[in-house]
Chain length 192, copies 4
Amino acid sequence: MGKSRLEAFSDGVLAIIITIMVLELKVPHAQSIEALLPLTPVFLSYVLSFVYLGIYWNNHHHMLHACQKVTGPILWANLHLLFWLSLIPFTTGWMGENYFAAAPSALYGAVLLMAAIAYWILQQLIIASQGTDSFLKKAIGNDWKGKLSPILYLVAIPTAFWSQWISQGLYVFVALIWLVPDRRIENAFRSR
Amino acid sequence: MGKSRLEAFSDGVLAIIITIMVLELKVPHAQSIEALLPLTPVFLSYVLSFVYLGIYWNNHHHMLHACQKVTGPILWANLHLLFWLSLIPFTTGWMGENYFAAAPSALYGAVLLMAAIAYWILQQLIIASQGTDSFLKKAIGNDWKGKLSPILYLVAIPTAFWSQWISQGLYVFVALIWLVPDRRIENAFRSR
Amino acid sequence: MGKSRLEAFSDGVLAIIITIMVLELKVPHAQSIEALLPLTPVFLSYVLSFVYLGIYWNNHHHMLHACQKVTGPILWANLHLLFWLSLIPFTTGWMGENYFAAAPSALYGAVLLMAAIAYWILQQLIIASQGTDSFLKKAIGNDWKGKLSPILYLVAIPTAFWSQWISQGLYVFVALIWLVPDRRIENAFRSR
Amino acid sequence: MGKSRLEAFSDGVLAIIITIMVLELKVPHAQSIEALLPLTPVFLSYVLSFVYLGIYWNNHHHMLHACQKVTGPILWANLHLLFWLSLIPFTTGWMGENYFAAAPSALYGAVLLMAAIAYWILQQLIIASQGTDSFLKKAIGNDWKGKLSPILYLVAIPTAFWSQWISQGLYVFVALIWLVPDRRIENAFRSR
């Protein structure tokens, strides 16, 4: 089974998810610069989610690059990941329209947590499909980012009800550790 | 005629259909967790339709993989299938917003039935284009899932007016029999 | 210049146009079958436009298949075609919501006319790029469908203000003459 | 790292951006031709943004054609460009609904400026990745269009508060200098 259609379909879904988020930025009726001010939290949450979806697309790109064959379980694990990512426009919109209130911030983290788990499942299935000498397994190394992220989401979810800013800080922090160039898989290819 | 553009176009349409469904999950104005409760049926119907579209994408992927050349009738049969699938966001939204009421549940099944028929027509045209020694024909075998599904939809449609839960149960059941890994075409490739 | 990205981009735009039209089918609030009745004209206009966009995708598919190299003018002529096609969801929605009234029906034809002209320009540019021995020129033959369609649109536009049903009948008729399998380019490939 | 998925993802995002803009053209409730009149500024701003996005897609197409390998920074610079382009439907809608008022016109230019800067960064990263003998560097030559455009946007932004028509004139002018066939990269390929 070729992986090109899996990539094409995932790219399509990710491209649509990343773009329909901008529809939450509703065009204001007034024409003054001040009319944009109430949109600030919606805009900031859009930026955060754009970065997260960019990270997912980027990592997904690298992971599938290191995957040779696509099995039925991999197809479904990929759809499972896309399902949770498809909820990000909803949680982003809810969080942005409510000025990063407690419950929306917690739900935002919960969906990120589910997406991280779905990503991990997909990764494990690809590794399992490659047998004992899995190239992807060596490429991701100790995968400290993949292990730390869900823990930080787990911390951020209840924290949102106490201080939503610590919660938001954790989401920004997780995005930043992924934004720092992740050359693991690239290096593994180079040293092949 | 190459099939890559047919796959790309179908992937695009399916990716958009699966993603615009999430727009029915309207962002609530209140910021409490309770504000999410009324969205529960919309969310559940979204999950069901996501799984159905995932199944269609998956089966479509396998079917076109077993198709060598694309003729005019195949192109149109494919568009016919996409037409019925494109109505799923509408029926999903109507069903979800009305707590799985009778008429929306029946219409949901009617669109699934039409999509199943359209899929069958596409399959027959591909088999016919492959001649007497059709690889796809052997690959799908007795096709009991493809034959059972429309019968169950036909049962579920009138049943919705008597008990919508039996009707929903049938939709979930059909989704489950397809979710169980369908290795028919994969096996046929392996034993080639 | 390769044509694969031109095809991919056109497929993407066409897939989105064909799918966002369904968003005009607004989910009714009532849950009875009768609540669907007012949607009938919107649904019928959706079917008509779906068929038209399917025809355009189909013909575009064949035309680009017969095109070897993509020049700057071809890129822009293609974008020009996509521009007019992108207005079809708007004219479809206006026509459907106003029960095929005169002005919306005339505008519907006007956009179809502009799209037909844009398609013809694109076709001429591809033929010109292929030199005196153009394969596409021979493949389309006398192109009677391409010549008749804009004439019928031109008739249908003013007719809409006198009888919108004759106008609609002409739109359906044009769709039907294209739906009849057009084997011209396919045959040209075969007899190559 | 292959560039095909980068192209496919960018095409997807650009196709969606260019198409969802048309959703700002809200279907009027009245059925007379006059009901279209208030939509004129929305339509004109749609045409302008369609041309701008067409130019970006076109130039992006050529630039990536002249790029051999995709690095992590190039992936992120590309996402950065897509981020600013994704805001164009919002600024287009705001400008169109407010009859090209001062603040929306200025914001429109600001987003174009940021997109131009993002494009320039992406271009520099690709040139840097190609080393001292960069093919892209030679292909773009003195890049007077790329240098003039941000300057004109910078002029247009404050000018909008004094006369929005001069500002709009500048946006149209920049679009026109790009629409004039840009054969630089094509020529470079030919003379290779």
